[in-house]
């Protein structure tokens, strides 16, 4: 049984079919990439897993238990942490306090949560900026803060929505190293990513969405050779 099982989920927004009958799974301890052109339905898929939207049909299971339609906070408590593509830092709070809020998910003690937060900030290289207000961070740092906050909730599964976007190549490599290290320590990751260099380096399995439908899945090598994938990214004529 995979840690996350998504089967046949669909979602429409007043007639627009954003996601149609998508099925995939994320096995425990693995990193799965979710890719596709803009508007393919990746973030909508994420939002259904994370509880922001209730799927119109289909089911989402975490460890075999149905979580489709539960509230985001319940799903976080259940062990899924997420980041937002459009970052949502607690702007008025310090970087440290942002992460403390996340850490309080796993402990009621603020002292304990602070310890966890300090550790997480260390891992993501944000420790020197811990006392700054989150509003003063640059975009790459805000992306890192998103990851730090989600990580602090102590998830079993981490959903990353384009955390590499806007990062410089060296920063991408750093983030890849961090994620690989976390994965080695047992964290399962599902990531939406446009930065192919990161996806290829991280994901053991890739799921490709196009116009809300799943068009391909497999290892990075298989995906790179799949004509359907090439078509949707490069256009029919290019082939």
């Amino acid at each position: 049984m995979a840690l996350l099982e998504v089967s046949g989920i669909s979602k429409s927004f007043s007639g627009l079919k954003a996601v149609q009958n998508v099925t995939f799974e994320v096995p425990e301890g693995k990193i799965v990439g979710l890719i596709g052109p803009n508007g393919a339905g990746k973030t909508t898929c994420f939002n259904m897993i994370a509880g922001v939207y209730k799927p119109d049909s289909g089911s989402v299971k975490l460890n075999g238990a149905a979580i489709g339609g539960k509230r985001p906070d319940e799903i976080c408590k259940g062990g899924i942490g997420r980041t937002f593509q459009i970052v949502k830092p607690f702007a008025g709070l310090s970087v440290l306090d942002n992460v403390v809020v996340g850490a309080l998910n796993a402990t009621a003690s603020v002292v304990e949560a602070r310890k966890v937060a300090e550790e997480v900030l260390d891992v993501l290289g944000l420790a020197p900026k811990r006392m700054q207000a989150a509003s003063t961070l640059t975009l790459p740092d805000r992306k890192r803060l998103e990851v730090a906050r989600a990580l602090a909730t102590r998830p079993k599964l981490l959903l990353l929505d384009e955390v590499m976007a806007g990062l410089r190549p060296t920063e991408v490599d750093l983030m890849v190293r961090v994620l690989l290290d976390l994965n080695k320590r047992g964290l399962t990751i599902l990531l939406i990513e446009h930065v192919m260099r990161a996806v290829m380096a991280l994901a053991g399995n890739i799921v490709v969405l196009h116009h809300g439908e799943l068009i391909s899945r497999g290892t990075p090598d298989q995906i790179a050779k799949d004509p359907k994938v090439l078509e949707c990214y490069l256009g029919e004529e290019a082939l």
Binding site: P72, G81, S94, V101, N105, A108, V110, R149
Partner: protein, 337 residues
Amino acid sequence: MKFLLDGVPRSALVLLALFFAGLLFAPMVANDYVLVVLVTILYFAYAGQCWNIMMGFAGQLSLGHALYIGLGAYITAALYVKFGVSPWIGLFPALAISGAVGALIGFLAFRFGVSGVYFAILTIAFAEFARIGFDHFTWVGGAGGFFLPVANYTQNDFFNLRGSQRMFYYILLAMTVAVFILCHLLLRSRAGYYWLAIRESPEAAEALGINIFRYKMYAVVLSAALTALGGVFFAFFYNNLFPEQVFHISRSIEIILGPIIGGIGTLFGPIVGAFLLTGLAESLREVMLRLGVDLPGVKQVFYGFCLLVVVMFLPDGVWPPLKKKLGLDRDTERKEG
């Protein structure tokens, strides 16, 4: 006790101690007039602090806090006058009922996704219901007002809250200090962190495992109940209650001006704001009196002017820059204090 002082800069403690000592000994030197002004200041500091829990911490704008003041006032006053129940006992039902009304408003709003200005309008609506309702509630005097017996007391009757202004001053000072400490502790607790998170971004807060409905409810109920305690004081200090005054929206606005001018979401904002506003307004009144000018509504114009200046030049309120000036911002870990 140690936890209470943890991470508070020493200079802040010294200043705080001096400030508190000043308030403690003020009645020894103050005349009756100054004492009433000080009571007014503390009253606004207290009520502002209570409002701040909802708006400053949890980000829920209430423009109807006069509702809770009025409920606290009317319930304890009625129990005292009609049944001889001591306000110290009467405050329990008063706080419970106010908290329940807060819970009702919160439930209606948060369950059905009413937020922002629409939430604020809902709070105004309930305060107006109460104003009109009490206007016709003849059991407690209706629009004609409800009065507590006033007599010259030779000694303070603490149990029935009848006595000198000095007694009221100290009771109010204790309330203000208590709610200040409570807010300080709350900000350092899980609930405090969660409130700030909800204020900054409800979606992100929810994604981090926070039941935002529940925590918003906590803020509303706590704020409502504590504000009602201010109402208990109001009733027994002023001894007369008129729905048109107690529940009026201008009362709600008065309560929130202090924290806005002092600094929303800060611990000292409501206190600084109350001192500034009431202090300046009373000085203005005094000056006008000396000059022999009598202009009705000048206080309101003055409040408006203060608000304008603060919003334009100090959008975070007076306290944050003042704190910097005093060198108290070494503890920059939290946007508080």
